[in-house]
Symmetry: C2
Subunit: 354 residues, 2 copies
Amino acid sequence: MPTDRITMAHGAGGAVMGSLIKDRILKHLGGTADDKRIELALEELDDSAVVDGIVLSTDSYVVKPIFFPGGDIGSLAVAGTINDLSAVGAEPLALSCGLIVEEGFPLEDFDRLIASSGRTGREAGVPIVTGDLKVMEKGALDQVVVNTSGIGKRSPYLDSNIEEVRRYREFDSEWIRDSNVRVGDVIIVSGFLGDHGITVLSFREGYGFESKLQSDVAPLNKMIGGALEEGGIVAMKDPTRGGFSNTLNEWAEKSNVGIALRETDIPIREEVHSACEMLGFDPLDIGNEGKIVVAVVKEKADAVLEALRSFEEGKDAAIVGEATSDIRGVVLETLVGGKRIIDMPVGDPIPRIC
Amino acid sequence: MPTDRITMAHGAGGAVMGSLIKDRILKHLGGTADDKRIELALEELDDSAVVDGIVLSTDSYVVKPIFFPGGDIGSLAVAGTINDLSAVGAEPLALSCGLIVEEGFPLEDFDRLIASSGRTGREAGVPIVTGDLKVMEKGALDQVVVNTSGIGKRSPYLDSNIEEVRRYREFDSEWIRDSNVRVGDVIIVSGFLGDHGITVLSFREGYGFESKLQSDVAPLNKMIGGALEEGGIVAMKDPTRGGFSNTLNEWAEKSNVGIALRETDIPIREEVHSACEMLGFDPLDIGNEGKIVVAVVKEKADAVLEALRSFEEGKDAAIVGEATSDIRGVVLETLVGGKRIIDMPVGDPIPRIC
């Protein structure tokens, strides 16, 4: 692998991408440390930044194929940025949509993805208020790329959520952040893991698993609002590129805690298990687009679990582990009672699923 | 030309793109009319939207080559979105940066464009606070695409600027908008037109004009702030894709006024004239990346001109025409005293300059 060129792993959301960001991006971008307007900065590498009370997030989508069972690049782009805004404790207000399209792209497909973007935004109550369109010559781009950026404001439930945390332990953050997890906090996942990545891969490669699977792509702002209203949440993340493994390793590293998981409690569908066994993937590394992982003070874990389950998108939510000082990193207690270290994925086993 | 597929003209910022947006995008995207949070909506098609007091803008950059005399895709992306925010009367606060990179892209070039983005942001005082990186397989993308989105707040000079307008005429807008131009308003351009587009084209194709030319790419937020502080400005636009012709036709259409221009007063460099004559282009259709076109009440025209000229980026600013009821559309009084209608460009004579 050449070391002087961008590789697929650089875009995979795992360890290689993390090094690229730390070594080559953070020294040039980001605000100055004395800029008091920046509450949540680039170098924190949370899902969104906060400047002057405004939450800002961006994501570009390169999924292939652009239409897949359960969604398409339009619904994915809108839901994805809504979820990133929501994950820091923001109420999403509005989105921008930047389309980059290959010359010769069918207008019928263009219409479909625009309609799907609009529908997803309306479902979530988040309008797309500005946009941009660029066309590249035939051959200069594989079909279409969609960027969505979004703005939000502090959720009306964030202050009461934090008050609830402070009933049980110290908490010095004003936002929901990767670095907020402490020993004793409980880890909840909002439903089955791996559906999106396996569906897109299977549909793309013709493996056939998608006959019983579909992408979980969905805007989660309403469910996350419901969970925050319950209170006690300290960290949230939508486990997209790099999957659940990446999310928990980021938390463990940024929060400096160990995380212990129980394999029996992690919701994974039989089809995803089968596909992963066949293909040699760990389902915990597979990207999701309609799930949220939540860290919550233990006293509120059952209540937050119920709040998530009261939404269709969270009906299969489950408590899967807790933060601990007994171990370092992320460790899974397996079905047979053994222990397996869950590392930060190096690359993404399935490129271009988002 | 097939009518069921995206063509280069759909991305050119002219009439074909306008139809695509009106016919195929606005019916799906945008907010609902009763959403009172949206002050400046998608359907207004200004350079930025305003939601709940927050100004939001987005732009993707596909320029080829990515490095060119006077700038590169990084400085272009940062300056462009800063200028779009500034053009509605916002003070830019922060940017996001979404990078989409082709597998195999040299890390050295990656470093250069990141450094250039950061430098341009620092010069403008606008930090890049969040970002995203995607990698596409070799051959699926021509090198790199950069999306920048940005947020801003109402400029501290906007209210006094509007008060100044209201000393001289009625003004019912709370923002600087394309639809605000009225008969009698004076049109100012902040410097030489066409430098960016001709430089990129000439460098790409090896025509040699770029030996005496360079791109004008620059963030204009400080100059625009200075002009707003002077007051009396009703509309502003950075004449990028579709150039000056596109800007004035948008104003004429949205404001329902005629615009009369004097060719002798429009600043265009000899090299740009020569290149355009050789290539059969109208210099007024060529995209710029460091210019602003301003419409101002006539009583304040000289003062705003001086304010622009007090900045390095505006030292060649000139008054070039005025809004009138004598004509419809945009009409140029030529060097020899004739009249030429300046139409909305149909496509862009030079693709991929931004």
